[in-house]
């Protein structure tokens, strides 16, 4: 009997030993990531991961594409609750509070290998959403601002100067009116401007609110100002583009198909993430320009997009491997490559100093508009229970643009519901 136990113990120990030996050989990482823009983005990520693995044979990364941002967050949270968390993920930079409340992630700056110099090498605007309680919780990756894409051919056709995109809200309305085209029976064949209201409606509303001089949330992420008069004005302007001015189609404008609308010439201008720039460039059969968003009180756009997070449940080896991977992915050459292939803003100033980026920008100056806009940019709406709040705001935006409710009603509603959700975090 005794002998048996001993044998079993030995066998067990040997298994443990051999297991840890394999761990030492290769660290396995699972990463979920979202795609929210056009183009073969999954291919780009897969290729980058391949290259990383070739250079680092001791780390194996399984990159899983899980849908849009919401889908990816859903997957990561669901998998974590089910006991199979990923070791790292690209998620909304604004999911930070939720991830902290779920005790899901570790601060990046506490992991060996993530030194201060590196963390300070990113654009400060992109670090804003990731810094809470004096710690850095995430690292920027696919980051963006909203920009205005405009069809230069359409501008010429409408007698407008193709080098002068609208700089103010009033100008945007004026120009849009000239850009609307109708067929013989009075049906619109080309709209002036389109602002997407599905999926990321909260983001567009925030852009308008910033321009109108209104912040949407506090630092602690438990207070929102959705029904502040200036926010209501902002939404009113948006609604009026369709309802009063007739320069935007009525009803919800689909985020996903808007790029196609623009490429097909169904709209002369669109507000969209700069992450779509390369896809627009590939698809445009006309001359197009990219501009900063127009101003009311000021210019402005929220930053947007996804950051890298490292999960708490990962082993120390995995966390270090994850940091190694993240550093590799955000190194200047890769950030430049990523930016060129998608249109996202490269996350460090150093990336714009690389030769490949310099050459690219020389021929295609549109590529730096979003970066230049960073000086006007504001941190993206980020609060506790972010998924729920986003849905509430998106619903309000849709209620307003479809005419179900007035902007005031819709935003009052959103404010009330949000306060109900956020009351738990005060």
């Amino acid at each position: 009997m005794k002998f048996k136990t001993k044998a079993l113990l030995t066998a067990g120990l040997m298994t443990v030993a051999s297991l840890s030996a394999t761990v030492a050989q290769a660290v396995n990482l699972t990463m979920y990531y979202p795609v929210a823009v056009g183009g073969p983005v999954t291919k780009v990520i897969d290729d980058m991961v391949q290259k990383f693995q070739q250079e680092n044979p001791d780390i194996k990364v399984e990159a899983v594409y899980a849908g849009n941002y919401t889908d990816t967050m859903t997957k990561a949270m669901t998998a974590m609750k089910g006991g199979q968390p990923p070791q790292l993920s690209v998620l909304f930079s604004t999911d930070l509070f939720t991830l902290m409340d779920e005790k899901a992630i570790v601060p990046i700056d506490e992991i060996p290998g993530a030194d201060k110099d590196w963390l300070n090498s990113f654009y400060p605007a992109f670090m804003e959403n990731g810094r809470v309680e004096g710690k850095t919780w995430s690292v920027p990756f696919q980051r963006s601002t909203i920009v205005l894409y405009y069809n230069k051919d359409a501008f010429k056709e409408a007698g407008l100067d193709p080098e002068k995109p609208p700089a103010t809200w009033a100008e945007m309305v004026e120009m849009s009116k000239k850009l609307v085209k109708k067929d013989a029976s009075g049906n619109v064949t080309r709209w002036g401007v389109e602002i997407p209201s599905t999926g990321y409606g909260y983001w567009m509303l925030q852009a308008l609110a910033i321009q109108n001089g209104q912040k949407l949330m506090n630092e602690a992420g438990n207070q929102v100002s959705f029904n502040a008069p200036k926010t209501v004005e902002a939404l009113q302007y948006w609604v009026d583009l369709a309802a009063k001015e007739g320069v935007m189609p009525k009803g919800a404008v689909e985020w996903g198909t808007l790029r196609t609308d623009f490429l097909e010439g169904k709209t002369a201008m669109m507000w969209h993430t700069t992450g779509n720039l390369t896809a627009v460039k590939e698809g445009a059969r006309f001359d197009f320009g990219v501009a900063m968003l127009p101003a009311m009180e000021r210019r402005g756009s929220p930053t947007g997009g996804g950051n890298f997070y490292v999960f708490k449940s990962a082993s120390p080896e995995q966390q270090q491997a994850a940091v190694k991977f993240i550093r590799w992915m955000t190194a200047p050459e890769r950030a430049a490559e990523w930016s060129i292939k998608t249109g996202y803003v490269a996350v460090t100033p150093a990336a714009y100093e690389t030769d490949v980026m310099k050459n690219y920008v020389k021929d295609f100056p549109q590529a730096v508009v979003a970066r230049d806009q960073l000086e006007h940019a504001v941190a993206e709406l980020s609060v506790h229970d972010n998924g729920r709040i986003y849905k509430i705001v998106n619903d309000a935006v849709q209620a307003a643009v479809t005419g179900t409710q007035t902007p005031q009603e819709a935003l009052d509603n959103a404010q009330k519901q949000s306060e109900r959700v956020l009351s738990r975090y005060k």
């Binding site: 979920y32 795609v35 929210a36 056009g38 849908g67 790029r259």
Partner: protein, 269 residues
Amino acid sequence: MRQHSHSVETIAAWVLALLWLLPVAYSLWSAFHPSEYATRFDLTAPLTLDNFVRAWNQAPFARYYLNTVMLVTMVLAGQLVVCTLAAYAFARFRFFGRDILFALVLVQLMIMPDVLIVENYRVISALNLLDTIPAIALPYVASAFGIFLLRQTFKGVPNELVEAARVEGASAFGVLWRVFVPLGKTTYIAFGLVSVSHHWNNFLWPLIVTNSVESRPLTVGLAVFGAPETGVDWSVITAATVMTMAPLLLAFLLFQRQFVQSFMRAGIR
């Protein structure tokens, strides 16, 4: 007069039928033509397989196919065994608690696993099966529908056949295997077709319990691939869509009669 109304009806039926086929026909059109022709119907448009090639290269559809095939096989095999045994007990045994138990089985006809996603997710994760193909299959293996259908069939088996087998010395199990199962063949085929087409097409539950390419079935793979955000070329999405439905569609076209009769048989009680 009667003849006239007859032909009017025939025309109406044909118009409806063509209308009914339109979406499928359209998806085929778009999948087999270059994207410029996605919305332009020009009979001289060149045919191409390019969309399929691109879809195939952009996402691991081969793996998705494999997963779906494994899934439907696993579900069906499990269902056949579990439901046969249960139906046999219900049809041929008088035992304590039979009626209550049968009523409890029928509960699943009304409250299907499809609506119990939250708790079933907990169960699957407690079993440590998340992100595996058995996780997708398990909730559906004990199919109340299958038990019900087979029980009806087994009840119709003449007693003489059972007695004859008994006389020859067959055990209870032997009787099941040699008498009941062969006589239930048509029911098995009917149930099998219904089950395979249902699970080939199932979506919400697999979406919830799978995380990785290794376990995603075709439907989930297609949904992730075709998300409008990515703005993948429309023709490529239809090609992927056609790939997803092709096996069932082909099987249906080839074995139309069996399909229709199976669904009919499964529907009648």
